[in-house]
Symmetry: C2
Subunit: 187 residues, 2 copies
């Protein structure tokens, strides 16, 4: 497990064994089952999660009880309700498991301590944050500029494995189309 | 001018006069006129911009020559085509001035040098990046979950001054609706 976390961080910054031991001491580990929630709307959000294995979804439920999917998170992704996590507000989103998952958990307090004791981790998080920002910008552009058909085709290219792992109702919610529209697109 | 930059940074981290001198030495300054471009599609993106005064728009033009607005940027905002900036790719977006503007410019090289020589600036950029990520997530949610009418009302509350400063055609493009729909909403 911890090898995956180390490999993930070392894609951006090299770590000695001693440094990785410091990093690792700031994380806790959780096994979560399919259907289990890591964050529920209204909760305090105590952790950011690094996904070692499994598949999760981050979603928002509107006043009409309709679920909208911000994004999925699979192996090597970081996920949380970051607004609530960084501002210590209550969660407006939910995070639950579509498959059994193994995650490493990092509290904001430990995040800050880790950056304090090992400043190059701040560089790691900054780089990850930039990538996250860029991905969000691309998703905004995609929602503004492309049809549901084009978004489905983009998804097929970017995350071919996701299509196999996620049911059509959830895929439709992520793409922002009805289940019926998606069936037409994917048939 | 430089006071605004210092106040902006000091909202997140305190700086001594010496430290601010180091920070400031990494920036250059530009005055830009209304209609002038700071970034054009296909350009190299050499800078991230901090807006001291004025109003800019970051937009994407699709294959049918339709312009889609990612976001506006006014006083105290950072803006660039960050995908191109961080990955050294060519710009896919354009950044132009809706009003005469004063901006501070930071190259990626100087960004990295600055973080190297003053590690707490990495903390500053990380915090700004988190806020940017959060704002993007909110915009995705808003595009997924709200009607054009609700998005227009949100904008009125969040950025009342923007409505006065931006013409209706551009506002419609930002909200992802037609000019006619916006006229109905705002009448």
């Amino acid at each position: 497990m911890q090898t995956k976390l180390r490999q993930h961080i070392e894609k951006i910054i090299p770590l000695t064994d001693e440094e990785f031991a410091v990093v690792f001491s700031h994380f806790s580990f959780r096994k979560v089952k399919k259907h289990q929630f890591l964050i529920q709307e209204g909760d305090s959000v105590n952790h950011s999660y690094f996904v070692v294995s499994g598949l999760l979804k981050l979603s928002y439920t509107d006043a009409n009880d309709k679920e909208h999917i911000l994004h999925f998170a699979m192996e090597d992704w970081w996920v949380s309700d970051y607004k609530a996590y960084f501002t210590k507000a209550k969660a407006t989103m939910s995070l639950d498991c579509l498959e059994d998952a193994n995650v490493f958990c990092l509290s904001l307090d430990d995040h800050n301590k880790l950056c304090g004791s090992l400043p190059k981790m701040e560089h790691f998080f900054l780089t990850k944050s930039h990538y996250g920002y860029i991905a969000s910008q691309q998703r905004i552009l995609s929602l503004l500029t492309t049809s549901a058909k084009e978004r489905y085709e983009q998804l097929l290219i970017q995350y071919p494995s996701l299509i196999q792992r996620v049911n059509k109702t959830l895929l439709a919610s992520y793409l922002g189309v009805s289940r019926e529209t998606l069936s037409r697109l994917s048939s």
